[in-house]
């Protein structure tokens, strides 16, 4: 019996041997630092032991692999603030507050979109729950280390975040059966948040009371039943866990900030935030970040006032703004999505690039590690064929921690490998069919069926095509 080679992961484009961390010297490229140094022409970048160790002219290093960057551009790896790739499922829809559930418990490291997004220069993705719930669950920041297992995908040492959602999806406006779950209005969503944090606040008080009591000599010990749902909310109030809040219209954004003010925390990030431009001043006063789409609108009522000038207006008011994908396909063109603010908002190219590098790094609290080209930071880098904001730019190499996880030349070889393996399996099937009894009823031979590719999204994406075999997670549930 001939078996196929084991690859990591065990699907197409899996590695026969995991790529290794290397010392790399990129020579003579245009380097977009996303730092105050700006764009540096004819500059070298040295990577050693997974970190950026030098930026300058005429650098040398005997241990480094040399990559000629002449005529090419180098940027920090792209960071997607809002993604649903590499997750087995994303909506725990039983109730509207599910702060206890964690993406980290169901990462899917075999999602081909990890590899496809590396080909678009993405190096870190913030994997979120969907938007079925007011409080969806604990998120997971990952690095796109294609071939690694679920644990090794995780971005080490990053702050914990949690997904909140407001508006139509939480109200389940599009549910074909109608909604029977509280909340059904934005008024109700507000009260779900008030109730959740009131419970968390009382819970925290009982813990404190128990601790105080138990310190006293001779007191009857008090215990409080641990509540995983409320634990996560207490973390938010103690600034140990941070919110990214799916939101669209100005009323709900305003209301969510009022709840946060009352309970003494900040909504770290409003994500999607297509009407952010209407309340940018209030968001700035609150201290929130904004992560938005470039040009989506008019696919549901809460986005009829969405405008492609949103990112640039929010930036001008002084908010830290990112462009996110929420989409398995668009994520590999985030550089171009950022570039749309040059067209619609007159943003500079360097500022536009920051919306997918250092700005999301800041809002995810990992800007000390990633998001710009700076000595000491993780070597998460992209080598582009052209100006990275141009429609014509292709990522030629995508590097995570000094390891080249995407290489356009290697990719060409992997395509052949993939085709060869496919042909081998087809032959094997055909041979089984030809075997006596092989094609007969009741025998083991079955017609091949393509596997569907489940695309998780916030439920806003029924209107964005993905691929012939891609189905939206919600659609898949309905079909079941």
């Amino acid at each position: 019996m001939v078996l196929g080679k084991i690859t990591y992961p065990f699907i197409s484009y899996g590695w026969e041997e995991m790529p290794k961390q290397e010392n790399i010297l990129i020579k003579n490229a245009t380097v977009w630092t996303s730092e105050k140094e700006g764009k540096l022409e004819a500059t070298d970048v040295l990577v050693k032991n997974g970190k950026i160790t030098a930026i300058g002219k005429n650098l040398t290093d005997a241990t480094a692999k040399i990559i000629d960057g002449t005529g090419k551009h180098v940027t920090a790896g792209i960071i997607d603030e809002h993604s649903h790739i590499a997750a087995g499922s994303i909506n725990e829809g039983g109730q509207s507050v599910t702060s206890e559930v964690r993406i980290s418990d169901n990462l899917n490291p075999e999602d081909i979109n990890i590899y496809r997004q590396l080909s678009g220069g993405v190096t870190s993705s913030h994997i979120l729950h969907g938007s079925a719930n007011t409080i969806g669950g604990q998120t997971q920041l990952i690095k796109l280390r294609w071939g690694a297992d679920d644990n090794d995908l995780k971005f080490a040492g990053a702050d914990g975040f949690i997904k909140f959602a407001l508006g139509e999806n939480v109200k389940r406006s599009s549910s074909t059966q109608g909604n029977t779950r509280f909340p059904d209005t934005r008024m109700g969503v507000d009260q779900v948040l008030m109730d959740a944090f009131q419970r968390a606040s009382d819970y925290q008080k009982s813990w404190k009371a128990a601790e105080e009591n138990n310190k006293k000599k001779g007191a009857t010990p008090m215990t409080v039943r641990r509540d995983l749902e409320l634990d996560a909310l207490v973390e938010i109030m103690n600034k140990k866990r941070f919110i990214t809040c799916h939101s669209y219209v100005q009323s709900e954004i305003n209301a969510a900030m009022k709840v946060a003010d009352k309970f003494g925390f900040t909504v770290n990030t409003f994500t999607h935030i297509l009407e952010g431009y209407k309340v940018a001043d209030k968001m700035k006063a609150h201290g929130a970040n904004a992560s938005t789409f470039s040009d989506w609108w008019m696919y549901k009522v809460e986005v009829v006032d969405a405008i492609p000038q949103n990112a640039s207006i929010m930036s001008k008011v002084g908010l830290n703004v990112a462009i996110n994908s929420d989409d398995g396909e668009m994520a590999r063109r985030l550089n171009q999505e950022a570039a749309k603010s040059v067209k619609y908002g007159g943003m500079t190219e360097e500022d536009a690039l920051k919306m997918v590098t250092i700005n999301p790094a800041k809002m995810l609290h990992v800007d000390s590690k990633v998001g710009s080209i700076k000595i000491g930071k993780d070597a998460d880098l992209v080598l582009w064929s052209d100006n990275p904001l141009s429609i014509y730019a292709k990522a030629e190499k995508t590097i995570v921690d000094g390891t080249i996880y995407f290489d356009r030349e290697k990719d060409a070889a992997m395509r052949i490998q993939s085709r060869t393996e496919r042909a081998r399996l087809v032959q094997k099937l055909a041979a089984a069919k030809r075997t006596a009894g092989g094609g007969a009823a009741g025998a083991n031979f079955q017609r091949a069926r393509p596997r569907l590719e489940i695309i998780n999204a916030c439920g806003d994406h029924n209107f964005h095509n993905h691929a012939l075999l891609a189905v939206d997670a919600d659609e898949a549930e309905e079909n079941n």
């Binding site: 001043d281 008019m298 207006i313 429609i391 075999l469 079909n479």
Partner: protein, 433 residues
């Protein structure tokens, strides 16, 4: 008095005090206009440097370098680029305003065989989306009905009109046949679970439905061959022009099996067949060429079909078709960005193998050819309608796709839109520019 009134109206238009409701369709062209000193991308592959286009009475009357501009109002386009108005080949613009709100959706009729349905009668010229397309260079669109198996006929509209009659550029250009899917796919989740086998074999059922469509056309043919009818059959009457080749059959399908069956329709009925979608057309480009089948690639910015397909397959499919000599056009049917990224889909095709001028043809002249309007538009050539856009720079790249002027039939189009107005409203609030 009249003059003062006109002055106030223009002031309103300039300062955007009112909403989209005061973005008026332009009146017929009176004054001859010359766009000078520009790089002219003709649409047929040619580029004219430092050229001039003259527009008179709605037509292009001169194109080239050193042409006479006497008597014309001069618009200096130095440093700018001039393109034919871009054309959406297949869209539900004006039929579906907000896809998730049923009452705003007039795109999809009930019933399987609706040959007599006409999209043009429901096209809403006041859709808020239309003006956002003009700002990105799109001036014409083929508005298609959806639903059922035979969905009805589509019409080409121009995007600066008071009502659908004004908008109609060429009506009933194509009948739309949505081929039932022959994809042998499982139901339910495919990710972790693997899914279940479907209750009815989709291939078997699909083939039966396709056979029914053939029967429909055979009966229509017999019916149309008769001189007189006691009872008029509206559905058969609706496909008369298909048999005369005054109309094309647009077959919406994607996988190879489906496309091969589509070729059969061209052969059996001698129809002009255009494939819409045609995701896997790169696999049979030679067959499509041999059978003279044109292709509308629905949306380039998409994922590959199979996990083991080349990761950039959708991006490079246009180059495969171009090389094989297939007549094709690129389309944007993204219901999230609402069709505005047509030029950037074409730009991506350039990154993956087309030349810039080939990509431009794929959203202008090729589209006009496929829609049967190439005698009137699709390129900047003498005698054609003056459907023209002027851009600060390369129209295919979002950094430089900044449309400064647009003309539809010589009428200078107002480039304001609802989104610009909202931006201005809040820039006003914050005191920023």
């Amino acid at each position: 008095m009249k003059k003062i009134f006109f002055y106030i109206v223009s002031l309103l238009a300039v300062t955007n005090i009112s909403g989209q409701e005061t973005i008026y369709p332009a009146a017929a062209q009176k004054e001859t206009i010359a766009l000078t000193n520009a790089t002219i991308h003709v649409g047929n592959g040619q580029v004219i440097n430092n050229g001039t286009v003259v527009l008179t009475n709605g037509k292009i009357t001169e194109v080239g370098s050193g042409v006479s501009t006497s008597g014309a109002k001069i618009i200096d386009c130095a440093g700018k680029h001039i393109y034919p108005g871009l054309i959406l080949a297949s869209t539900q613009l004006g039929l579906v305003e907000i896809p998730s709100v049923r009452s705003t959706a007039d795109g999809s009729e009930i019933g399987e065989m609706n040959a007599s349905i006409r999209s043009i009668v429901a096209y809403n010229t006041d859709s808020k989306i239309i003006n956002t397309l003009r700002t990105n260079g799109i001036l014409l669109a083929n508005v298609i009905p959806d639903g059922g198996i035979i969905s009805g006929s589509s019409s080409v509209v121009q995007l600066d009109a008071w009502n659908w009659e004004d908008a109609a550029y060429r009506t009933d250009v194509a009948i739309h046949f949505r081929m039932p899917s022959l994809l042998n796919r499982n139901r339910g989740r495919g990710g972790f679970g693997g899914g279940q086998q479907p209750a009815v074999d989709p291939v078997k059922r699909g083939l039966e439905q396709i056979e029914n469509v053939k029967i429909f056309f055979r009966e229509a043919k017999s019916y149309l061959a008769e001189g007189k009818h006691e009872n008029t059959n509206l559905k058969f009457e609706a496909v008369r022009n298909l048999f005369d080749k005054k109309q094309k059959l647009f077959i919406h399908c994607n996988i190879v099996k489906e496309m091969l069956l589509a070729v059969d329709f061209a052969k059996e009925f001698d129809f002009d067949v255009v494939l819409v979608g045609a995701v896997d057309s790169w696999q049979i480009a030679d067959i499509l060429k041999q059978n003279n089948i044109a292709v509308i690639l629905d949306q380039l910015h998409n994922l590959p079909t199979m996990v083991d397909d080349d990761i950039d397959q959708p991006f490079k499919t246009p180059a495969v078709l171009q090389k094989a000599g297939v007549m094709f056009t690129l389309n944007d049917n993204d219901e999230s960005a609402r069709y505005r990224n047509l030029a950037f889909n074409a730009g991506t095709a350039v990154a993956y193998g087309l030349t810039k001028e080939e990509a431009l043809s794929a959203i202008t002249l090729n589209t006009a050819n496929i829609l049967g309007i190439a005698d009137r538009t699709g390129s900047i050539e003498k005698g054609k309608d003056a459907n023209i856009v002027v851009s600060e720079g390369d129209i295919l790249d979002m950094r430089t796709n900044i449309i400064t002027h647009a003309f539809i039939q010589g009428r200078q189009v107002d480039l304001n839109n609802k989104q610009k107005q909202l931006a201005e409203r809040y820039q006003h609030k914050y005191g920023i520019k």
